[in-house]
């Protein structure tokens, strides 16, 4: 087994661990709001009808 493959396997383990933790705590950088999400209204996010 090449060294880079072992390093990659550890990396995948980290990704999976992060994913499990995010799932358990409901975390996501793609959320519309919340403790860690983007968004919130006013300021940067869009407000109002989306059609002319």
């Amino acid at each position: 087994m090449k060294f880079s493959s072992i390093a990659y396997a550890l990396f995948c383990l980290l990704v999976l661990a992060g994913f499990v933790q995010a799932t358990r705590s409901g975390f996501s950088p793609f959320a519309d709001g919340g403790a860690r999400g983007m968004g919130g209204h006013g300021g940067s996010s869009f407000y109002g009808p989306t059609h002319k």
Binding site: M1, K2, F11, L16, G18, A22, R24, F30, D32, H51
Partner: protein
């Protein structure tokens, strides 16, 4: 009985004097060698003639081979002596061939393509064709690589078992598999097959005491195995297992619990209404919250939904905005409709606690900019048409963005390895478009 054996084992090397220049030569394979090219003056001598008749004189400038004639070395467990050297060319590139001799093994070849060394032998058994592939006697199959192309001897020195001469031509066809080339050489009177196995970097240099060459993959030899192939296979296996595990976790963790559901009414073009859903509990650990609004009766209007999830104890508020809308009309292309009447808003990492969801609802009629009413100031309708809105709150669920991000992270390394392997293979097969950088 036989004659008494000599008390000392005889040497295989015999001294001769060149008929042309008088220089001292060594004959290393007496009985097998047919022509000997003098390393001092380049004359070709007939070793089957007791007078060592001159067959030909030198036509090219003398060169010294990288591995001197007479060098002995151990390659893959066998001892070999370099007895002959020739340089051949196919019109595009040149390569060198060393004729190796061992009295108990016969002849072998060491081939130098300028980068890599290969170890070659004549095949005793003719290979067979299996479809488009060539099969040799150990069962391995090779793919056609190139040919027939002409190869010509450009320089020769040392001793050979055939009447070698500068300018001698053969037609060559090559077949490859990772690590091996099988070549068919033919001229008008005979056809020979030989098999050449790629030696590892440094193997030939250590065997014959010449300077080590440094590994590089800028111009791979035709039979050179890709240094990325093993890594590619391993990374694909690890990546597939990781991706599969990620998806399984996602499926397991994607369940959500309904926490609250309530129906409200917004007033169309009326005053903003504030409503509250109480006692939304998040036990134990922080969670994601999905707030879904559903307002299917909307028509050419929209509802602004300002959410505030407020912790009853700390009064900390998590805010978000949702928009339910629906429009329709008709234009030159025909009737159209658009808008989402069931918007979802997702909040992440809400800490455990007891919350109230405060919702400000404001419904508005949509006026197209072509209408004369567009520039009128909006007035609040004191008796607005009620627009029903259902709000449901769920705890948990899976963010699709997380899954996608995880899969992308897992795919980065295999993607990189695949790209390196693919560009190596393109360079190996002689494609000139591929990258030329070293690994």
């Amino acid at each position: 009985m036989t004659e008494a054996a000599p008390t000392a084992a005889p040497s295989t090397v015999r001294a001769l004097t060149c008929t042309q220049c008088g220089g001292t030569l060594s004959l290393r394979a007496a009985g097998y060698t047919v022509s000997l090219v003098c390393e001092h003056c380049g004359a070709t001598l007939d070793t089957t003639d007791p007078q060592l008749r001159i067959i030909a004189r030198a036509t090219t400038a003398l060169r010294r081979p990288l591995i001197p004639l007479g060098s002995r070395g151990v390659l893959r467990g066998e001892t070999w002596e370099v007895v002959g050297y020739l340089e051949r060319s196919d019109g595009d590139g040149d390569w060198s061939e060393y004729l190796l001799f061992n009295p108990y093994q016969g002849y072998g070849w060491l081939i130098d393509d300028g980068r890599r060394f290969s170890y070659g032998f004549l095949l005793d058994r003719l290979p067979e064709m299996d479809g488009t592939q060539l099969v040799i006697d150990n069962g391995k199959s090779l793919d056609f690589y190139s040919g027939p192309y002409p190869a010509k001897v450009r320089f020769v020195v040392g001793e050979f078992y055939w009447r070698v001469a500068v300018g001698e031509r053969v037609r060559v066809t090559d077949y490859v598999r990772p690590g091996t080339i099988v070549s068919c050489e033919e001229n008008d009177s005979e056809r020979t097959w030989s098999r050449m196995d790629l030696l590892n970097w440094g193997e030939a240099e250590r065997a014959f005491g010449i300077q080590q060459r440094h590994p590089n993959t800028s111009t791979p030899s035709p039979q050179e195995p890709s240094p990325w192939r093993d890594r590619l296979v391993e990374s694909l296996i690890i990546g597939a297992v990781a991706a599969f595990t990620l998806i399984v976790i996602a499926i397991i963790g994607s369940g959500s619990t309904r926490v609250a559901s309530a129906d409200f009414e917004a007033g169309l073009d009326g005053a903003t209404r504030t409503v509250v859903i109480h006692n939304i509990d998040i036990p134990a650990h922080s969670s994601a919250i999905r707030i879904s609004a559903q307002s299917d009766q909307l028509d050419n209007s929209w509802v602004d939904l300002d959410y505030s999830l407020v912790d009853r104890r700390t009064q900390q508020s998590f805010d978000a905005y949702g928009l339910a809308e629906h429009y329709h009309g008709s234009d030159s292309d025909g009737p159209w409709s658009e808008g989402n009447t069931r918007p979802d808003v997702r909040l992440s990492s809400i800490p455990p606690g007891s919350y109230d969801l405060v919702i400000e609802l404001a419904a508005h009629r949509w006026v197209p900019y072509t209408s004369p009413d567009f520039y009128n100031a909006r007035t609040v309708d004191p008796n607005p048409v009620p627009i029903p809105v259902t709000i449901t709150v769920d705890r948990g669920g899976m963010f699709g963005g997380n899954v996608l991000l995880g899969l992308i992270l897992i795919a980065i390394w295999p993607g990189f390895v695949f790209w390196r392997h693919y560009s190596f293979e393109k360079r190996r097969s002689g494609d000139l478009d591929a990258d030329g950088d070293d690994s």
